[in-house]
Symmetry: C2
Subunit: 504 residues, 2 copies
C-alpha cells in the first residue's frame, strides 16, 4: 500500500499526521499557559490529568500509529524535495527516540510534573524546601528512568541534555565551563577591585501599571507582533507558543525594581521573536520548530544583553524611560544608567544576575544536577549543597530556600539538563552578534537611533527561518564560519566591563 | 473477556475511559475560552484546527473505541449501584446518539464553527451581515445534515433541540409559546398604558474599572468560589467550565451603562454557581454534567431576575451601589432604582431586554430557525425577515444588522435550537423560585439582608447535586411536584409589574 503511493501522496499523509499531533501538543501548551497565568487554584489536580491525557495521546499517536510507517517509507524515497527530506530525517530521529518511552511513562511524567509544579509553588510560598522534597525525589527518579529508557553513552546526563540540545554532552559542557571559569574569575577579580557602580536608581518605587506599559512599548519597538502574540503576568516569566502566529510571553513586576520587568520583557521578547519567525508553512513539522534550546536562548540573550544592556540601545531608549518615569530618571545621564544596569555583583537570584556571575549560577546547577542523576545526592541534600556552592563560587550566604534552591521552576517541570543551555545561549549570542555587526555595517548606528529592524531581519534570515534544519553546532558554523568559541563572549565582556569599570 | 470481569472492574474501566474523553473535551473548552478572551487575531485559523482535532478525537474515542462495548456490557449488569446505573443509562443514550455522527462530520462542524465565529466577529465589526452570510449558509447546511444524521420524528428542529433539551419538541415549544403570547401581550398592553418608569440613572458614565470591581463584589457575595473559577472580559458574556473546580465567567462593560455589566455578571454567576455545584466525584461522567440547557438557564435567570431584579435584593445592595458610585446614586431611593431596573420597553437587543419582551426576542429567533432548517429561508433572507418580525412583535425598527440579526453569537457557534431554552429557563426559574420560597420560610428576609446562602444551599441540594440524573421535565416534577406550568411565571410577572406600573 505504502509502496505504491506516490511520494507526494505519502508526504501529504505524513504532514497531516504530524500536524494533528502538533494540534494536541499545542493544546497541552495552552492548558499549561493557562495553568501559569489565569487558572484558579482548585483546578490544579484536574488540570494535571487533562494535560497528562493530551501528552499521553500525542505520544501514543506518534509512536503507535501509522506515523512511524509513513516516516520510514518516506525515508527510503529519493524523490523528495530538500525541505521534505530534512523533515523526514528529523522525524525519523524523533520517532526512534519517542519509541523508547512507553506512553504510560509519558503520562506519569506529565502528571508528576503538574503535581511537583504545584508543590514547588507551595514550597516557595511557605519558603520551605521540605514541601517540595518528596515530589522532587519522585521527579529525579523518573528522570533517571528516562535517561535509562532513552539510553546514553558515558553519563546519564547526556540522555537528558540531548532532549534540549541534540548531540551535546557532559564532556563538551565540562570542557566549555572549564575554559570559562578562569578567565571569568580573572575578569571578576579586576571588577571587584574597582569602585562599585551605582544602580540604586533601579531600586525605587515604579508604578506597576506604568512598568507594564513601558515594557509593552519596548517589546513592540523590538518588533514583536501583538497580532500574533501577547504578554501576561506569571510567577516566573516564560515564553510559549501554539503556532508561529500565537506566541505568549509572560513577565513579572516588582514595584520596587524596574530592572526585573525591563530585562525579563526584552529577554522573553527575544524568545518570542524567534518563535514568530519560524516558518508558518511548516506548522507541526520539524522545520517549523526551533533548532535547540541554546539557540533559543541565544536569541533571548542577544536581545537582553548584547542589545538591551548596551549603551547604544539606551542612547535612544532613555528618552522613553524619562517619559514614563520622569521623577525617577529626569536627571540621570545615559552613561550612568548604562553603567548601573551592568553592575557586576554576586547575587542570590539567577534571573537577576549580571552577565558574568550568571555563568556561576549555571555551573552550580549543572554540577548539582549531575550528582542528582548519578544518585549521589537526594532532594534532601540540595539545600545544604546549594548554600555551600553559593559560598564557594560567589562568596555569598544564602539566607533562605526561596532565595536559594527554590528560586527556579525548572526542576518542578522536570527540566534537568536545561540550565547549561542558558550559558551556551550567552556564548552563542556573543558570537552571533559579532557576526551580525560585521554583516550589517550600520548596525550600531541603527541601534543608537532606536531601530533594530535590520538586526531582526538578519536573525530571521540567518536563524529563524531555518527552524530545526541545523543543530546548534551546524547553525553556528553556517552563520559564523566556525564552531562555538568562548572568546567571542570573553572579548565582548572584556571590552564592555573594562570600559565600565575602567581597567585594562 | 468483558463477561468474566467483575462489574466493579468494568465500571472502573468505563469511568477511566469517559474521564479521558472528558479531559480532551475540556481541553477543547480551554482553547475556546482562550479564543474568546485572550487569543491574538492571527491565531484564529490554527486555533480552529486545534479545536477541531480535539473534537474529532474525543468523538472518535467515544464512538470507535472500547467504550461502547464497556457501556453495553455494563448496561446488562444488575449489580450496579443506583448512581452507576444512572451513568450507564445516560452514557448508552449518548453513545447511540454519537454513533450517528461520523468523526469527520464532527471535525468539519468544529472547523466551520471556528471559521463562522471569526466571520461573525468581522461582520459585527463592519456592521455588515454580508460578511457572515456565506459561512452561515454553510453552517445551516451542516445543521440540516446533522438533523438528518441524528434522525427525528416530525420537524428536523426536534433533532437539534434534543441536543440541548432532551425530549423537548417543536410541538411542546409551539404549545408553550402559544399559551405565553396572549397573556404576555395583555400584560404589556397594560404597562404601555401607564406612565414610563425612569431608568436614566443607569445610563450615565460609570468608570469601567469600578464597574468591574462592583461586579466582582456582587458575584462573590452570591457565593461564587473564586478559588474554583474566575471572571474575564469577552465580546459576548458566557460561562464555561473545565471541571466543577474551574468555572470561567465572562462579562462585558459599557462605560455608559451600568446595567449591561451588572445583570450579565449576576446571570453568568448563576450559570457558574450551577457548574461549581455539580458533583466533583462524577468528573467526566453524565452525573457530573448539567441536566439540560433550560435548567442551566433557570439558574442564571433565577439569580438575574427573580433575585437580582427584586426589590428585596436591592434593599441590601443599594448600599454597595452607593459606595462604588456615590455621585450617580447618592440621592436615588431604592424604590426608584428597583422600578428603573425593571423598566419594560421594546428594545433591539435581546440581552438588554426586560423580562417580558424578552420572550418575543426568543419567539422571533425560534420561528426563524425553524424556517432556516426547513430550507424555506436562506441566510440572505435573514435581515429582512428579522427586521419585519421586530416590527410585528415589538413594534420597533431595526436600524442596522449589528443591532439586528448580527447581535447574537449563537448561530456562528452552530447553536440552532438553543434560544428556546432561554425562555424555558425563565419559566422554570419562576416555578423553582416559588418552590424555594415555600420551602425556605425566611428567604425573603434573608435576601433583604444580603444573605442568599440558604437559597444557594437549596439549589445545590435540589438541583445542582443531581447533575444529569433527571431530565428538565423530571427535575421540575421532582422539585415542584408538577410539570412546567407557565402560570408561575405569569403570576410572578403580574404581581411584580402591576406593583411597579400600578395597575390591577
Amino acid at each position: 500500500m505504502v509502496n505504491k503511493t506516490s511520494s507526494t501522496g505519502l508526504y501529504r499523509k505524513y504532514k497531516a499526521s504530524l500536524q494533528k499531533i502538533a494540534d494536541i501538543k499545542y493544546a497541552a501548551a495552552v492548558l499549561q499557559w493557562d495553568q501559569e497565568t489565569y487558572m484558579p487554584v482548585k483546578s490544579a489536580q484536574t488540570r494535571a490529568r487533562q494535560i497528562a491525557t493530551l501528552a499521553e495521546m500525542a505520544h501514543s499517536l506518534f509512536t503507535a500509529g501509522e506515523t512511524g510507517k509513513l516516516i520510514e517509507a518516506l525515508y527510503d524515497r529519493d524523490d523528495l524535495k530538500d525541505d521534505e527530506k530534512n523533515n523526514i530525517e528529523l522525524s525519523l530521529y524523533d520517532y526512534k527516540k519517542a519509541k523508547k518511552l512507553p506512553s504510560l511513562f509519558v503520562r506519569q511524567l506529565s502528571e508528576i510534573t503538574s503535581q511537583s509544579y504545584q508543590s514547588w509553588i507551595e514550597a516557595r510560598k511557605a519558603n520551605s524546601f521540605d514541601l517540595f522534597e518528596k515530589d522532587l525525589d519522585l521527579m529525579i527518579e523518573l528522570k533517571r528512568q528516562e535517561a535509562t529508557l532513552l539510553g546514553y553513552e558515558g553519563h546519564p546526563y547526556n540522555a537528558l541534555l540531548n532532549e534540549y540540545e541534540r548531540g551535546s554532552t557532559v564532556a563538551f559542557l565540562d570542557k566549555t565551563f572549564d575554559s570559562l571559569r578562569q578567565p571569568l574569575r580573572g575578569l571578576l577579580d579586576k571588577i571587584y577591585h574597582r569602585p562599585k557602580v551605582d544602580d540604586t536608581f533601579l531600586h525605587q518605587y515604579f508604578d506597576p501599571k506604568e512598568q507594564w506599559d513601558f515594557g509593552m512599548e519596548l517589546i513592540k519597538q523590538l518588533g514583536f507582533d501583538f497580532e500574533a502574540g501577547r504578554q501576561d503576568v506569571s510567577e516566573h516569566p516564560f515564553t510559549t507558543n501554539f503556532s508561529s502566529n500565537d506566541v505568549r510571553l509572560t513577565t513579572r513586576i516588582d514595584k520596587n525594581n524596574l530592572g526585573n520587568m525591563t530585562w525579563s520583557c526584552i529577554h522573553e521578547a527575544g524568545h518570542g521573536l524567534y518563535e514568530q519567525g519560524l516558518p508558518e508553512k511548516e506548522y507541526g513539522l520539524p522545520l517549523g520548530e526551533y533548532a535547540s534550546l541554546s539557540i533559543h536562548e541565544s536569541q533571548s540573550r542577544l536581545w537582553e544583553n548584547n542589545v538591551g544592556r548596551s549603551e547604544d540601545f539606551w542612547q535612544h531608549h532613555t528618552a522613553s524611560l524619562k517619559k514614563w518615569f520622569p521623577v525617577q530618571f529626569q536627571h540621570l545621564p545615559t552613561r550612568d544608567f548604562y553603567k548601573g544596569i551592568n553592575k557586576v555583583q554576586p547575587t542570590l537570584i539567577r534571573t537577576e544576575a549580571d552577565e558574568l556571575t550568571y555563568h556561576f549560577h549555571i555551573i552550580i546547577r549543572y554540577e548539582l544536577e549531575k550528582l542528582l542523576l548519578e544518585g549521589l545526592l537526594k532532594a534532601k541534600d540540595i539545600p545544604a549543597y546549594w548554600n555551600e556552592q553559593y559560598q564557594n563560587y560567589l562568596g555569598i550566604k544564602v539566607m533562605d530556600d526561596k532565595h536559594g534552591c527554590l528560586q527556579d521552576v525548572h526542576w518542578s517541570h522536570g527540566s534537568f539538563g536545561y540550565f547549561p543551555t542558558y550559558s551556551l545561549g550567552s556564548l552563542y549570542a556573543a558570537q552571533f552578534f559579532n557576526a551580525a555587526k560585521k554583516q550589517i555595517p550600520l548596525l550600531e548606528q541603527e541601534i543608537k537611533s532606536g531601530n533594530t529592524s535590520s538586526l531582526l531581519k538578519w536573525l530571521r534570515t540567518n536563524i529563524h527561518c531555518h527552524g530545526r534544519k541545523f543543530s546548534a553546532t551546524q547553525l553556528c558554523e553556517h552563520i559564523t564560519g566556525e564552531a562555538l568559541d568562548i572568546r567571542y563572549f570573553l572579548d565582548y565582556a572584556g571590552k564592555k566591563y573594562s570600559d565600565i569599570y575602567k581597567f585594562d
